[in-house]
């Protein structure tokens, strides 16, 4: 029957099974490739992947650093800094647009236009305007996520019921109190949803930029090791990225669930 519920245990087992199927399929493809060419390094075997992981986590004799440590530090600091400025800017702009019609009239057209510009296509523009250091990565992520996020927040503000606002006014709330105590609290869970959806694109922008100008970071390492055909290093890096994205997603959903039960109540 369509949409028939299944118990948690069964759901978990099916989830694990899907991962196992993926791993089995990978093993099969790798086996085929190594039958064709035993020295192949483009679809590494599990043993080769193990060697790659070892290379990532051990101290590199040339640089005296662990790749995964220096790359994670660089990429994560750029990502969080970029997201911080992007989200902060989007909250301010989204609230202004949603609360005050002159701001809405002034900011809505450029925001909807800018939201359509893929930052990866404008990579060279960011180099020109912001240089090639951390400032550029932060600018790229911030400007990449800001327009879409601002629009989501603006729409969320618009969805706050008029009755709630009137009631707050009737009870003597000032404009600032209304924004802080009613609107912001009302839009927070939706904002978390929007931020969650923007983590993926932010990572795309960052990795693309690191591939071109980085001398450290996930994008730099993936490009370099792809060129050297060390796919046993590339795949674990991709797995780390996927795990990070998944972890952030779960974290934000849990945050939403814990702090905004009124919003998530009834949702799965």
């Amino acid at each position: 029957m369509i949409r028939r519920a299944i118990d948690k245990k069964k759901s978990l087992m099916i989830g694990v099974l899907s991962i196992l199927v993926l791993m089995g399929f990978y093993s099969l493809v790798s086996h085929w490739q190594h039958q064709k060419n035993p020295d192949d390094s483009t679809i590494p075997t599990w043993t080769q992947l193990g060697q790659g992981v070892q290379k990532i986590i051990e101290v590199n004799p040339r640089s005296d650093e662990r790749w995964i440590v220096v790359d994670s530090k660089a990429t994560m600091s750029r990502l969080f800094l970029g997201l911080f400025f992007g989200v902060a800017g989007a909250v301010v702009i989204g609230l202004l647009m949603g609360c005050f019609t002159p701001f809405e009239a002034f900011l809505a057209p450029p925001m909807s236009l800018l939201a359509k510009v893929p930052p990866t296509a404008a990579l060279a523009v960011f180099f020109v305007l912001a240089g090639t250091d951390t400032r550029m990565y932060v600018a790229m992520i911030s400007f990449g996520v800001l327009p879409t996020l601002a629009q989501s927040i603006y729409l969320a503000v618009k969805e706050v019921p008029d009755e709630t606002l009137y009631k707050a006014y009737t009870l003597g709330a000032s404009q600032t109190e209304l924004i802080w105590n009613i609107i912001l609290r009302h839009i927070m869970p939706k904002m978390l949803d929007a931020v969650r959806l923007q983590i993926g694109p932010a990572m795309v922008y960052l990795i693309a930029a690191e591939m071109v100008v980085g001398d450290v970071g996930f994008g730099y390492r993936i490009r370099l090791q792809s060129r050297l055909l060390n796919m046993n290093v590339v795949y674990p890096y991709l797995a780390v990225l996927a795990a990070f994205g998944f972890f952030m997603d779960v974290l934000l959903r849990r945050t939403q669930h814990i702090f905004f039960r009124w919003y998530t109540h009834g949702k799965r």
Binding site: T42, V212, V213, R227, L229
Partner: protein, 358 residues
């Protein structure tokens, strides 16, 4: 789902699976088809231009006069350089336009043959500095930007060696050459020294009059070789050797167009069209700095000479020392059949065959 619709579904699925397989079988009975991955670079764009001027047809199933002559279908796959390397390493193409340094890695897992040297860098890779830098020692105090683990870093390190300097005293910092050149052209802080290749060398020198060449690849003549490498497994397939000959024939046919006064300028402009927005005069400078091996005899010499063997020793030791290859590949030179299996052979037999075929 009813029994009849299930039956229809399986029939449809079977057709979907069988039809492409039949297509492959049909194609297999036709002229053999092989692919060449190439990226924009003066001596490699020759294949793209040969496709434009109809010497060959790079589309699968279509053939130009050279392909008909050798009875083989050349499929051209254009991509950026890094993608070409990955494509070749993953056996997604039969031959690739590659440098003598970058070929060392894929040949470890895919035994290859250097069938055609196309050009050598003679000034096309250069260390550009601002005019206040007059001595290489001044670079110790700053970052030198360029693409790490490529011919840029090789050119930099070799020149340091020649100048009696130690590599560990300098900071070569990874950056894509387009970004490094752009940053220097914009006079960004900290971008006083970059190692890039053409067209970025000429573009930067044109746009910033206060920038000069500190050293370039003219000090290491013949060490950076651009060439076409082909998988030995593909060479052993029916039509593989004809493909190698057709590729070589195409290259020399286009070089003749470059030398013919009637078609020289057009060909040069076509070569530079996607490579850069440099003028015809600048393109003439580009092909001086990227010296083509225009004659088959020059190509044969490169693939057999002692000079190349000495060069490759230096290149291999650089690549091992810089973690570019995990182990030194076994190499062989010339026509003689090697005693043991080698990973990369420099073999002039196909150039000789083309040279001797009218």
């Amino acid at each position: 789902m009813t029994r009849i619709s299930l039956f229809r579904f399986f029939v449809f699925a079977a057709l979907v699976l069988i039809l492409p397989a039949r297509t492959v079988v049909c194609e297999e009975t036709k002229t053999p088809s092989f692919s060449l991955a190439w990226s924009e670079y003066p001596s490699w764009s020759t294949f793209g231009v040969a496709d434009e001027v109809k010497l060959i047809d790079g589309e699968k199933g279509k053939m130009g006069p050279i392909e008909k002559k050798w009875n083989v279908d050349i499929v051209l796959k254009e991509a950026d350089y890094d993608s070409c390397l990955v494509m070749y390493g993953a056996s997604q193409c039969d031959a690739v336009c590659i440098t003598n340094m970058d070929v060392l890695n894929p040949c470890l897992s895919r035994p290859s043959m250097a069938i055609l040297p196309t050009s050598t860098s003679h000034g096309a890779d250069a260390c550009l500095v601002t005019e206040d830098i007059t001595d290489v020692k001044q670079l110790k105090m700053m970052k030198v930007y360029g693409l790490a683990k490529t011919v840029s870093e090789y050119c930099f390190v070799r020149n340091l060696e020649i100048l009696g300097e130690k590599e560990k005293d300098y900071r070569f910092t990874n950056m894509d050459p387009s970004a490094a050149a752009l940053a220097m052209q914009q006079k960004k802080d900290g971008f006083d020294a970059i190692v890039v290749w053409n067209p970025y060398v000429l573009e930067t020198l044109t746009k910033r009059k206060d920038v000069k060449v500190l050293f370039d690849s003219t000090s290491i003549p013949g060490e950076i070789i651009d060439m076409v490498a082909m998988s030995k497994a593909s060479l052993d397939m029916p039509g593989g050797q004809a493909f190698a000959c057709a590729i070589i024939d195409t290259f020399y046919a286009l070089v003749r167009r470059m030398d013919d006064p009637k078609t020289a300028d057009d060909t040069l402009v076509a070569l530079g069209e996607k490579f850069s927005n440099l003028s015809l005069a600048s393109m003439k400078e580009v092909v001086k700095q990227t010296q083509f091996y225009k004659q088959p005899d020059q190509g044969i010499t490169v693939l057999t000479s002692q000079n190349t063997q000495d060069t490759m020793k230096k290149v291999v030791s650089f690549c091992v020392a810089h973690d570019i290859v995990s182990q030194p590949p076994t190499l062989s030179y010339g026509n003689a059949e090697p005693q043991k299996p080698v990973m990369l052979s420099f073999n002039p037999m196909f150039i000789e065959k083309v040279k001797n075929t009218p």
